[in-house]
């Protein structure tokens, strides 16, 4: 969870860098809903910790913490889908702002993001199933459950994704004629390939294929975003003044960070654990 939140900061940074004129207005119009993401995530965090500590202590009541945590996460995902869909429609933001300036405007164009949201949630479930199966690969029960979630989740996410594509209306044609069609096609093939490899228990390859398919979905989404914004905004038109020295520092620190993370994980998992009391 901590890693997820931290990894999510980088996309947010670059989103604000490239799309400030879309993202800020959309989030301001829905400001209270957007800001409530923070206490919601904090609450979810502590609920998950409570569940983990309970389960660790052998208390079955621990699972009771998980339902409100799930609701919190669904809230966060719904706000994100609503706000970021709104960000692609400046006229809608203007209308909503004229209606109220207090930050209580919810994106009313549910048809625009309902399937998108569902696709994301089901996709998250699919990835969750993948990891559950991988981490519990030695336990037949856990692996079977993970496999089911992964397979059915992927089928459901695929259906929601298809429904989202069909809901695009006039945009569907241009999207299919753009280079996004290649990313989409290869993404779908890789997803299915990942499923096949997973069933064969070739987890590393399955993971790489799954990650690559997610990357291609992001590219498809980017192409769609450019299509929606066509005529109002083109990020390629930004005037860019390169900061090479700072960029180099970032690259070096990124590489060092990657090495350190691997190094720390190796340290953590290398201990035999034969005499844990000695460790303290």
């Amino acid at each position: 969870m901590a890693a997820t939140v931290t990894l999510g900061v980088a996309p947010l940074l670059f989103l604000q860098l490239v799309y400030p004129l879309q993202m800020y207005p959309a989030s301001i119009v829905s400001a209270w809903f957007f800001l409530l993401i923070i206490p919601a995530v904090i609450l979810v965090y502590y609920l998950l910790y409570a569940a983990a500590f309970c389960l660790k202590g052998g208390k079955p009541a621990g699972t009771g913490w998980l339902w409100p945590a799930l609701l919190g996460l669904l809230y966060v995902s719904l706000v994100y889908s609503s706000v970021f869909s709104m960000a692609e429609h400046p006229d809608l933001i203007r209308q909503l702002y004229a209606r109220g300036q207090g930050g209580f405007q919810w994106n009313p164009a549910a048809g625009d993001y309902a399937f998108r949201w569902l696709h994301m949630v089901l996709g998250a479930l699919t990835v969750g199933g993948f990891f559950a199966g991988v981490l519990g690969a030695k336990d037949a029960g856990i692996f079977s459950a993970g496999k089911k979630i992964f397979a059915y989740g992927m089928a459901a996410a695929g259906a929601a994704g298809l429904a989202y594509l069909l809901s695009l209306g006039d945009l569907l044609g241009p999207l299919m004629r753009s280079r996004a069609i290649w990313a989409l096609t290869v993404g779908v093939v890789l997803s299915l390939g990942s499923l096949h490899l997973y069933f064969k228990r070739r987890f590393l390859l399955a993971g790489v294929a799954l990650f690559a398919s997610l990357l291609l979905m992001v590219i498809t989404r980017h192409e769609l975003r450019l299509l929606v914004l066509q005529g109002t905004f083109d990020p390629a038109a930004w005037r860019v003044a390169p900061q090479w020295a700072a960029f180099l520092i970032f690259l070096v620190s990124f590489a060092v960070a990657a090495v350190l993370v691997v190094y720390m994980l190796r340290l953590f998992f290398s201990f035999s654990g034969s005499d844990p009391e000695n460790a303290i």
């Binding site: 890693a3 860098l17 004129l21 301001i28 209270w32 993370v261 340290l267 290398s270 460790a279």
Partner: protein, 503 residues
């Protein structure tokens, strides 16, 4: 003005401060705490001090729960919050420092990973490896401070960046090093305060006294680093900014003075319950210490935010998000044509973009009590001369008709009765209130702009002439637009003034 304005009904400063102060209080502990844990772990392992190791393990649980969750997420919360409240300023910061922020993020990744492994590694790692993780954690955390410190200090002292626009001129600005050292001291101090909270819960005995005493030294050493560098920080701020603050900005100066008091109390409590009677440290006392620490650091942050007024980025962008470089354009074309998101009420939109980032009609920095009972022309005149008012307000750069539109909007939220009816006053008392409302904002008795001496010893006719010609007496001076009752009451009040100031 290319962004919509979030018109929430509470003061902006309060919302940001609420999140930011909590975040800095935790995030600085996250840095100092890392150092505290690894140094103490090393010492405890060297001496075979099992009690101290158990204490450190308990502390690391608090550390993980507080820093990984609330600390990390309030950091994201600040991002969210400033993006909602000052999108223009955040956009400037991101466009200039995006790679520095990206670099800081790589430190975060290491920091988070190290914190998790350190916490879970007490029983699952070899001691030497566990301490290695601790050191990696501390340095990653401190380096994240190093980076964000450059961006925070830039907002107060952008210095050469204003001319060159170069990243490094903005990053290594005049307050960079004093701020970095001061914040490092704060990190060490907060590590001591948080650790004392855990130590206070230990069973009474020799080991508790020893741990409390050792921990108190962290708090005192942190203060010893932070306080001199605070003075260095003050000296590094351009003299014009500090001089203006001393002359006309009571808020940051009061906040700074408050921070001295809090620091003094923290030091006294540390000496008393940490060094003299460590066995007597209980959880309530440790909580008071934490509150005082929060008070001292919060006061400093309040000072830092307030002293840069009327700017949000000194010399580049005003607090209401208007860029200094756009001043001429706004003077010529006005604000309205530049506002991208409109509500349909021009006066309200202008008010939001020109005033609302600092002022509400009621509550924090309220306009209602300042303008209840006065007329629209007076309000418009005050708006036009806003930058002269206290020295910490951005100039109004719109057109005269836009100032009138804002005044009309403000007027809708005011008590329209006569001032005498609102306050239930007559004669000299009424005159004094009218003075405070119409004159005292710029000419407070005994304060900056006090004109008492030149107002004494005149005749009623002189005072009447003075009010007739008020608008001609200086740039930004509004005409006296009160009615006959107000005029007479004000003159009655003037007649009571004595040479040397006051009544």
């Amino acid at each position: 003005m290319e962004y919509p304005f979030w018109d929430l009904q509470i003061g902006y400063g309060i919302l940001i401060a609420g999140i930011a102060v909590l975040h800095v209080f935790i995030s600085h502990f996250a840095i100092g705490g890392g150092l505290f844990l690894v140094i103490n772990e090393r010492a405890a392992r060297k001496t075979g001090d099992a009690h101290r190791l158990v204490f450190l393990q308990r502390l690391s649980k608090l550390f993980a729960l507080v820093t990984l969750v609330t600390g990390a997420l309030t950091g994201v919360g600040i991002w969210f919050c400033i993006g909602l409240l000052s999108p223009a300023a955040v956009a400037v910061l991101i466009h200039n420092f995006v790679w520095m922020w990206a670099t800081e993020w790589t430190f975060f990744v290491v920091e988070i990973m190290a914190a998790i492994l350190y916490f879970y590694g007490w029983k699952h790692m070899a001691p030497a490896d566990h301490m290695k993780i601790g050191w990696i954690y501390f340095w990653a955390a401190w380096l994240s401070l190093f980076v964000i410190n450059g961006i925070i200090t830039f907002m107060l002292t952008p210095a050469a960046w204003l001319v060159t626009g170069r990243l490094w001129n903005g990053f290594f600005n005049p307050t960079f090093w004093p701020s970095l050292i001061m914040r490092t001291g704060v990190c060490v101090m907060l590590a001591g305060l948080y650790a004392l909270l855990v130590a206070a819960g230990l069973k009474p005995g020799e080991s508790k006294a020893r741990i409390v005493r050792q921990t108190a030294w962290w708090g005192l050493c942190g203060l010893a680093i932070a306080l001199p560098s605070l003075y260095w920080y003050w000296k590094a701020i351009p003299a014009a900014v500090t001089a203006a603050a001393i002359q006309g900005l009571p808020t940051p100066i009061a906040a700074l003075h408050l921070s001295y008091w809090f620091a003094g109390i923290v030091a006294a409590l540390l000496v008393l319950f940490g060094l003299i009677a460590p066995g007597k440290l209980r959880v309530p006392v440790a909580l008071v210490l934490m509150a005082m620490g929060l008070g001292w650091f919060g006061s400093f942050e309040w000072f830092r935010e307030a002293v840069r007024k009327p700017y949000i980025i000194v010399g580049y962008m005003y607090g209401n998000g208007i860029e200094v470089a756009d001043a001429d354009r706004y003077r010529k074309e006005g604000y309205l044509s530049a506002i991208s998101y409109r509500s349909g009420d021009d006066g309200a939109d202008l008010f939001r973009h020109a005033c609302r980032s600092c002022h509400a009609m009621t509550g924090y920095k309220a306009l209602k009590p300042a303008f209840d009972g006065v007329d629209r022309p007076f309000i418009a005149a005050i708006i036009k001369g806003a930058h002269l008012l206290k020295g910490n307000m951005p100039p109004f750069l719109g057109t005269a008709s836009e100032a009138d539109a804002i005044a009309a909007h403000i007027e809708t939220g005011l008590d329209r009765r006569h001032i005498s009816a609102i306050y239930g006053l007559q004669g000299v008392a009424l005159g004094q209130t009218i003075f405070e409302i119409r004159c005292g904002r710029c000419h407070p008795m005994g304060g900056r702009g006090d004109k008492t001496t030149s107002l004494t010893g005149l005749t009623r006719e002189d005072y009447s002439n003075l009010l007739d010609n008020a608008a001609d007496m200086g740039v930004g001076m509004p005409a006296f637009t009160g009615d006959k009752i107000e005029r007479e009451a004000l003159i009655d009040y003037f007649m009571t003034l004595k040479a040397g100031g006051g009544k």
